[in-house]
Subunit: 279 residues, 2 copies
Amino acid sequence: MNICVIGLGLIGGSFAKAVKAYTPHSVQGVDRNPDVCRAALSCGAADAVFDPADCAGALQNADITLLCLYPEDAITFTEKHADSFKPDSVVADACGVKRPLSGRMNALAAIHGFYFVGGHPMAGLEHGGFENSTAALFKNASFIITPEDAPQPAVNAVTRLMLTLGFKTIKTSNPKEHDEMIAYTSQLPHVLACAYVENPLSANHKGFSAGSFADVSRVATINERLWAELMCENRDCLSEQLADLIGGLSAYKELIEKGDRDGLRNRLKKAREIKEKTL
Amino acid sequence: MNICVIGLGLIGGSFAKAVKAYTPHSVQGVDRNPDVCRAALSCGAADAVFDPADCAGALQNADITLLCLYPEDAITFTEKHADSFKPDSVVADACGVKRPLSGRMNALAAIHGFYFVGGHPMAGLEHGGFENSTAALFKNASFIITPEDAPQPAVNAVTRLMLTLGFKTIKTSNPKEHDEMIAYTSQLPHVLACAYVENPLSANHKGFSAGSFADVSRVATINERLWAELMCENRDCLSEQLADLIGGLSAYKELIEKGDRDGLRNRLKKAREIKEKTL
């Protein structure tokens, strides 16, 4: 197959490298940064590289196109190049929100005769960019797929590719469930990490922590442009999760301020039992 | 030296094992659970074991006594056995709060002629008890010491012992700073982990997370009896940290609900810069 990867950042670069490392498929890489294109070509992550303005040929030959762009850019790119996708080819994305893409992408797919399969690789690193990308990024990770009305052969093609690239789990979902769950499992921890480190005491943490400081604050090394977009595009779900957590913390605060040791112990016990069930 | 370890749970058991593994000192273990005493003796974690009701001889021979009990139990034990400590010997604790012990322990030390050195090993595991204790628990960890008015030779004795047991850093502090910092670096993440998993979506997290769910919720496998005591004993500091975090989360919530992408991006950027400085 010919795989076209649009956007060679951490995720796109890792997809390109993983396809070359683990499959016999060819990779056409597309990135607006010529330095990134050169790097991808010279390290063998891509067989050919293209500027977005000049990628029609690559799209016309691609059996699967992987959109590894920010959500709005993914839509804009698809609108601009909708005529160029090979008929009956598969276009999958890797965006961290799904509802904002669903309607427009499915409409474009129907009009222009390609198949859109929503996707979200549950993998990342604290630092982005092609320079941090690695073929091993997806090893044992989960790939969320939101196929909606895509035909089964298109879904199967994406599933097979992702399993070959190292993903351990393919989690089938839909845009609504995805956005709600991701608000809780990923966006909320990112907001939390940032709010947590803003405390002036964070400057003094060294020597005062066994690991909790590092765990809670890990993802505060955030790409603010990407995450401000993701969070605002998922504002209803994220706001609900924030309200839930603020409510929980406030209830604990009240128990602690009252010195209600029995009440606190009971609530901690219930939380522990919930945690144990999630393991 | 003779080291007497009072309480052979995760921390006390690990101290006993580390002393036997890494030093030539003898260990007298004290625990109210005869099964734990037998286990400690049979695995070589202690040279002799005693019930608390029968430990006066062990205390009279101890050069350093390590109190590895819950805070209130540590005070009660010391009050009960104050006459038995060897004159000029060192009594150190391992409690997660320091202000509640400071006044009473220093007074007992002054009256009964021993030296009290407050301590707090920054090490732990998700599951407690002697059965999970290990000589390697303190490897590369930080030991917080709050010596207050203890004479330098007593402080040096504890410092030397802790470095021998595997600790990498000895962080000198005082009860007030300790309790404030620990509220932020340790107690707040524990409340957070518990409040976070209480969300009903936690039951569905599998396949929807790269690692943030695991990181934020890790310490929700909490010992509720110990932590309800620690949190209530440090309620002023912990309440302040909870208020700070709730305020931060509420500010993020407002930016997200307004869809203020520029404001959100700026705030995330500042948080990232703070985080980078803590690394």
